[in-house]
Symmetry: C3
Subunit: 348 residues, 3 copies
């Protein structure tokens, strides 16, 4: 869809370890969807539901699994995981301009802040005197870096990201605009007069290569830190409460929420809008489907769900009304079984 410096198909094959079939001397200058791609574009087929688009594609080359190669009207690059291969190739065509090192004139940097000379600090950013910004880190406009925060090397923060207090980011962390890390956890005790705030004194530790979505919030721990291990991926508008611990390579989709002190394993997938109650443990390799609520610890890998199916509203009303009598229905079934058994016995 754009026009960049090009790569020949055989160059792409060699660079990414893929098998080229068809005329491999053609030059690729961009990436595009199968249905829209022009002759200088690379496209991919991963989801079989788009196989129809393949037969009609005008792409310059298509990345696909061997089983789909014969159906392609254009040259192909065969890959065991076309989406993964595409992800790597597409990075060549990502035009995001590199940020210039240096501190913008409108940024407000407190005395004592340690900012690497290769870091880029955007307009209006404020950096506390106890903060550290490592090499090649990039802060877009209006980021606020509070006390005892560290931004790791090559980390990138979108506009309006706030690191409140005691937030430590690993290397190559990517945070999208509006995210807030290190705000107070929601800790309250109760006396006769009302709520008493429980001081939140811990921090947030984010491992290397984590990605954090727009307007997502990650609270500081009450005493210990809230922790994301390496390569955790959070989508937009996620809420991570104080003292949560998320294992490496777990990914959470938009609007998911994890309550205080819950511990989620490695390689978990949490669906959009799903919730995990506080103080629970979720084992490695667990998948939670969208909008499910985890109400007890999960000790075995697998896929877990809750919720009722979508229905036409009239049918739903009839069925939902019966949910209120489910226990009674079960008792009535048991009574029927007992009576029927008595009848049957009686008859013999």
């Amino acid at each position: 869809m754009h026009d960049w410096t090009g790569y020949r198909i055989d160059q792409l094959a060699a660079r990414f370890g893929l098998e080229a079939r068809g005329d491999a001397t053609h030059v690729i200058r961009g990436v595009a969807p199968l249905a829209q791609a022009a002759g200088t574009d690379l496209a991919f087929l991963a989801n079989p539901r788009y196989t129809g688009d393949l037969t009609r594609t005008r792409a310059g080359v298509v990345v696909l699994r061997a089983e789909h190669a014969a159906a392609s009207p254009v040259p192909v690059l065969v890959a065991p995981d076309p989406y993964l291969a595409y992800a790597r190739i597409a990075a060549l065509f990502d035009t995001a301009p590199a940020a210039a090192p240096g501190i913008h004139a409108t940024a407000v940097i407190a005395d004592g802040a340690r900012i690497d000379a290769t870091a880029s600090i955007g307009p209006g950013c404020t950096v506390d005197g106890t903060a550290v910004i490592a090499a090649a880190a990039v802060l877009d406009a209006h980021c606020v870096i509070g006390p005892h925060c560290t931004v790791g090397a090559h980390a990138r923060l979108g506009a309006n990201v706030t690191l409140v207090t005691r937030v430590v980011l690993g290397q190559r962390v990517l945070i999208h605009p509006g995210a807030v890390l290190g705000a107070d956890g929601f800790g309250l005790a109760r006396d006769q007069a009302g709520w008493v705030k429980v001081p939140q004194l811990g921090g947030v530790r984010i491992g290397n290569d984590c990605e954090i979505g727009a307007n997502t919030t990650i609270d500081r721990g009450a005493l210990e830190d809230t922790v994301l291990e390496d390569d955790v991926r959070l989508d937009n508008q996620i809420q991570i409460a104080h003292n949560v611990h998320i294992g490496a390579h777990s990914a959470l989709a938009g609007c998911a929420a994890v309550a205080g002190s819950a511990r989620i394993g490695c390689n978990c997938l949490i669906g959009g809008g799903a919730g995990v109650l506080g103080h629970l443990e979720v084992a490695d390799g667990v998948t939670i489907t969208a909008m499910s609520l985890v109400t007890h610890s999960i000790h075995q890998p697998g896929v877990y769900s809750s919720g009722a199916p979508l229905e036409d509203n009239r049918a739903w009303r009839r069925n939902a009304a019966r949910m209120r009598h489910l226990d009674q229905m079960a008792q009535r079934i048991a009574a029927l079984e007992k009576q029927l058994a008595a009848l049957a016995k009686d008859r013999t």
Copy 2:
């Protein structure tokens, strides 16, 4: 509730095509709820649950349907849709001051940015050199307008709105504070070592007259654009994932979320906290009730719901425990039916 320049009731009737009954020479200077309105206020009755307030109102005039006119102790303006008529009249009394054209001294405008002379750019805004700000557009404080973004004529952006990359806004678009448009979609491929980010290269296109709520997020497409057609209305804290397409005049209530590549028709109403899974299609004219999850495509207009009804927690616990045995219960009912049929047959 406030004091502005006034309008005579007969002037309002003529201007908005309504029928006045009672003394129509009275002057109206503001709008207020039925129960609080004073003699210079206009009030309205749309929801019959507030009919009691009508009989006791001290408003200067009430906008209502003909069927309620006789019950009013004060002059009325008869309208087939009183809420709609009220909406139009109340706009006369909206006191939001017009923003002064020009660029605030603290804004940071990159060379090359095209900003219309009638636009208003607030304190601390940053505008990329490839961005366009059209006539009479208003940016409140600290907005960030990134590469290849366009703000249409008469669009208004609240404070701290971020347009990240390739975001094109139509005319008269209204965006409330903290919204983030054009951040990367959540695209991940997996290799042995962990997640590989899929470059997000598309944009966001917002049609004319759309409204976007506070802290709502709309991601840029992976390759193609994420699209809101004209007159789409999004409440606060909504999440729209990459490549979503929403048809004209659809409205989504607070905290709704739409997953990647879902396609929602025109004139749909999506309730608060509802979710739509990725790659689904929702037909025109579909209503989804609050906190429902759309798990399959919907091809017919109508009202759809999921979820279980609210109950006292003790009753809920008993009933919810039975949900885990619903399939077994159904099988037990089938077995009972079979046994009973055999018994009955046997007896004859």
Copy 3:
């Protein structure tokens, strides 16, 4: 976990009205969890699930209930509510530095704004000419204070907080970064051509001692105000729609949402991700569990829930499919009961 000025155990006992047991001359310099605490730390035991940590603790002193005192290997402070006692003691060790009074050079203050000399206005803040900032209020970087807004004495606003229009904050209100108060409510009327915006003319009133989480949104009322009474506590990413009224001492956990004109009583607890539909009333003392949806008014205090339990996905699919036939199942049970009664009667 940190090193501050210390307090002797007997000093803490006297100051907070607690009973000390064991060597009370020891000096405490910080707070830490039972399992990590060192000899100069105070720890607490509130949740019995951590009793195992008590027997192995190396804390300098533990705050606990009398029943657990004998199990402690170290000195204790006996409290009827250890979490409440801990909350008060821990405040002694909260190191958040006090903000310096004054207006940062980069703040943009409009003529007419009334800002107390003891208030602290951070970098990049903008304050409208009709706004009032009271004594000892603190605004962190980039806060935006719009028309007719008042920030009460000793209130603290985190970075990037926006008060849009007609927002009045009581004393000691604490707002975390990214929250937006006073944006337009979601009011729409419909005509043939599309949506007509209903002007939002009311404000937001926040009582004393309220706390509002990061990226939470509270809309202004349509005509009257949206109201939080004193000591209401909102976690992160909560959505409060126009004209909502929340009674004193109620607390809402992360991602909860309350639709327009709903009225929530005093001392309510709303769980994470829970929703309340519009125009409903919820009595004082009601608890709603996480991710429940309140679909009707609640007139009695108590605990209320909705939702289906989490299951292994395969079992869930089988059971969820039956939910669509629940009404039919109930009818089949009734038919069985009738047939069986006829059979039994027949037999006698």
